[in-house]
């Protein structure tokens, strides 16, 4: 008896299995619509962004530029008119509104260069950085303080006052030298050079006086020889 029941059940086995799978397939309709997430997760983006490692100081950048670091790629995210007025040496211009264009992607999404984004402050550069980081681009940095800070520290450094630490003076000397590298001329440097010239001239005029003294010495032994 049991055997017959089993046979009857087994004759339906494929239908039962098919039914189960159809029910399961119907369940797929109930699944929420899949939202395609672009780039890294918000949590990861937050973690990356609160890390201040992306900022590079103007001093560090100046040193890299003077040493002509071949891995450096400067990107100016300001608009074109600002870019034409003044920009850092060898910087290329990608205005913020074009930062996600196809033409700019090869500059940003690569691992051959250390890209440094900058703007007048770092507000726009930071925005560009966050959007690019969400897309998973690596090797991006932001110039801390931007062009304004570049002017205040490198182009026109403030002279430290007497009571400041020795390191401040060293930093000032570096910044001044850097500013000269970037084209700033110092009139006081010219004056210093003129101070040196008059000093050398009197030393030359003083030399003949010594010679006269020597002449007398030489004469004496000659006279003795006679």
């Amino acid at each position: 008896m049991v055997n017959r029941k089993l046979v009857k059940f087994l004759s339906l086995r494929y239908k039962i299995l098919a039914f189960i799978f159809i029910v399961l397939a119907g369940g797929l309709v109930l699944l929420p619509k899949h939202e395609k997430q672009e780039g890294i997760s918000p949590e990861k983006l937050l973690a990356n962004t609160i890390n201040p490692e992306r900022y590079i100081s103007t001093d560090a950048l100046a040193e890299k530029m003077i040493n002509q670091d071949p891995s450096l790629l400067l990107i100016d995210v300001r608009n074109e008119s600002d870019y034409k007025k003044y920009t850092l040496t060898n910087a290329i211009n990608i205005p913020l509104k074009n930062i996600l264009d196809e033409e700019s992607e090869p500059y940003l999404n690569q691992d051959a260069y250390d890209v440094i984004l900058f703007s007048n402050d770092h507000f726009h550069a930071d925005q560009a950085w966050i959007l690019c980081t969400r897309l998973g681009y690596k090797n991006l940095h932001v110039l801390n303080g931007g062009i304004n800070s570049w002017y205040n520290t490198i182009i026109n450094p403030k002279m430290p006052t007497e009571d400041m630490a020795h390191t401040e003076f060293e930093l000032y000397a570096f910044r001044k030298a850097a500013s000269m590298y970037f084209g700033v001329a110092y009139p006081e440097k010219v004056k210093k050079a003129t101070v040196i010239k008059p000093v050398t001239k009197p030393s030359i005029t003083a030399a003949p006086k010594k010679v006269i003294v020597k002449k007398k010495k030489k004469k004496l032994p000659i006279e003795g020889g006679c």
């Binding site: 997430q37 930071d126 700033v184």
Partner: protein, 210 residues
Amino acid sequence: MKELEKTKRLSIAAVLTILVILIALLSYKRPEHLYTVNTQDTLEKVVNNNYLITLEDLNQENHVLVDVRNSFDFNKGHLDNAINITSPEILEDDNSRIINKIKEENKTIVLYGNTPNETTLPYLLLSQLGYDNLKILTVKNSYNQNKLITENFVIENNATDIDAFIQESVKNKEAAMKKLKARAIPKVQPTPKKVIPVKKKKKMPIEGGC
């Protein structure tokens, strides 16, 4: 009997598949935060500057001030009626709840920090998560004798014309050089004097030779 064996295996396989699907469904945790705006749309929003407001635009009834500085700074001094949500904790459950509540009340979140630069992260993160009721207060906060001073701040201010500064410095240097040349000319003359004593030197050894 062979047929029976086959169906047995088949049904075991089916049950296992169903089990795996069930486990997967149960263990699946929907991520708490999902982007609803893509980067391109966010960029467009960022480029037109209508998310920036100044102190004068601040309308207390509709605006909820959110201080993104750390709690130490917040406790030292903050704007009236501001709540503190520091940037690193912006995605935490409590804060999400507060932000959602503000959105349900149809109020606008106004973010501020020590400078507007500090609000970039929370602004961009929240706007990409789909919150469109966001503004940034363009102020600069500083302390003078432990008193909070809030003043309007111009974003991305093009403060100085660096090119002009460099040109002027070069001009100044050239002017200084010209002055120098004018002064330097009379001082060149003493060189002939040098030559005369040298000639005398040569004569003397000849005399000694006698």
